[in-house]
Assembly symmetry: C2
Homo-oligomer: 219 residues x 2
């Protein structure tokens, strides 16, 4: 278990984070909540300022538009995924074991950072349909590139599993999408219960991981 007491929190040496970074992080987090609750199209800068308990001015001090905030939410959502999954991908274990760890870690990120992950699911679609500026489309293309790079981690572990004979994969891109689809579905149906424990989320992640790794047909 990784719970820290308040004292440990104070004693622990902290990464140096500027006040600007902290302000931005607070706004990004509040925006993710608003996007989840009201929908990306309906949420306003006012809603985000209310969620932060701040003024619209403070929000505009850091971001020039709602689109800019959405892009920051997207970027953070992908960072959270990479931070959880990349170390497992890069470990020395056989591919089947790495895939198991990656699937579990991905499922946990979906649940523990639900507003971030949920906000970005439908968002890109909406922006691609919408009237974006050339600069915004460039940012979107970059963000989609980051997402593709993340998806490639799963393809690469599947290829590694074919190579080390721990996995059986007939079509790497499609199987990769099946696995991520099964896990990403969490953003559609998972809602934390009041008082839910980390152990309950772990159990959900284990069931999903077992399904994508072992299937359901009795051996």
């Amino acid at each position: 278990m990784n719970h820290q007491s308040a004292d440990a929190e104070v004693a622990r040496p902290r990464r140096r984070v500027s006040n600007v970074d902290e302000s931005r992080a607070v706004i990004i987090s509040a925006a993710a909540e608003c996007f989840m609750r009201k929908g990306l199209d309906k949420a306003t800068i006012d809603d985000i300022a209310d969620e932060v308990g701040s003024t619209k001015g403070r929000v505009y001090h850091h971001f020039r538009s709602k689109n800019a905030i959405f892009f920051a939410v997207y970027r953070r959502a992908m960072e959270l995924c990479f931070e959880a999954v990349e170390p497992v991908f890069a470990s020395d274990s056989p591919a089947a074991q790495r895939l198991e760890g990656m699937a579990h870690a991905h499922a946990m990120v979906m649940m523990e950072h639900l507003p971030f992950q949920r906000g970005i699911r439908s968002g890109v679609e909406m922006y691609l349909h919408g009237s974006t500026t050339a600069a915004e489309r460039e940012t979107l293309t970059e963000l989609i590139g980051i997402r593709d790079e993340y998806e490639r981690l799963f393809r690469r572990v599947l290829e590694d599993g074919v190579a080390d004979a721990t996995l059986e994969v007939d079509d790497v891109p499609i199987v990769g999408r099946a696995i991520l689809g099964a896990l990403n579905g969490l953003t559609d149906w998972y809602r934390p219960r009041t008082g839910e424990s980390g152990a309950e989320r772990e159990a959900i992640a284990r069931s999903l991981t077992r399904t994508v790794l072992n299937g359901v047909v009795r051996r």
Copy 2:
């Protein structure tokens, strides 16, 4: 193969469909295309009329609002799912075999009726966030009920598989969602290639089905 010649089409006794039903079906189908192409929020009744090659008046003759058309698209999308999957569910085979057939049939519906299936994925969410009337919310609740009923077919076959010992399932609702998530992901990433054959779609459906049934870990 089930291709019918034009003659066979003429000779075959047809289900009696009124002109009103046919007009409605054409509008619903055009609307599904528009929702996919422009996004649900951006598509207008004008776009739908253009797609049909008709006037706005004709569209309004059949539907009182864009919301009403969206609901009809949703209803039809679910009918298409039930038509493909329910007969397999109701067959006499062992549960593992029925699940295989159901997953394959569901994947094929996602691909062959992509505009319908894609339109409804983000739609309900948007309408729940949006400003709907009491009557509309009632319809939405009914439609979500239909979707839940569909999901129950998958849960029931999983339960049957535990009973007839052809499937190994630790948590029926979560495994059901993993399976549908893996298949529904198609609406995010599948786009038909120009000149794509039915055989190519069958191959995609088989890869997905094999993944959700057998997993990827080498036995």
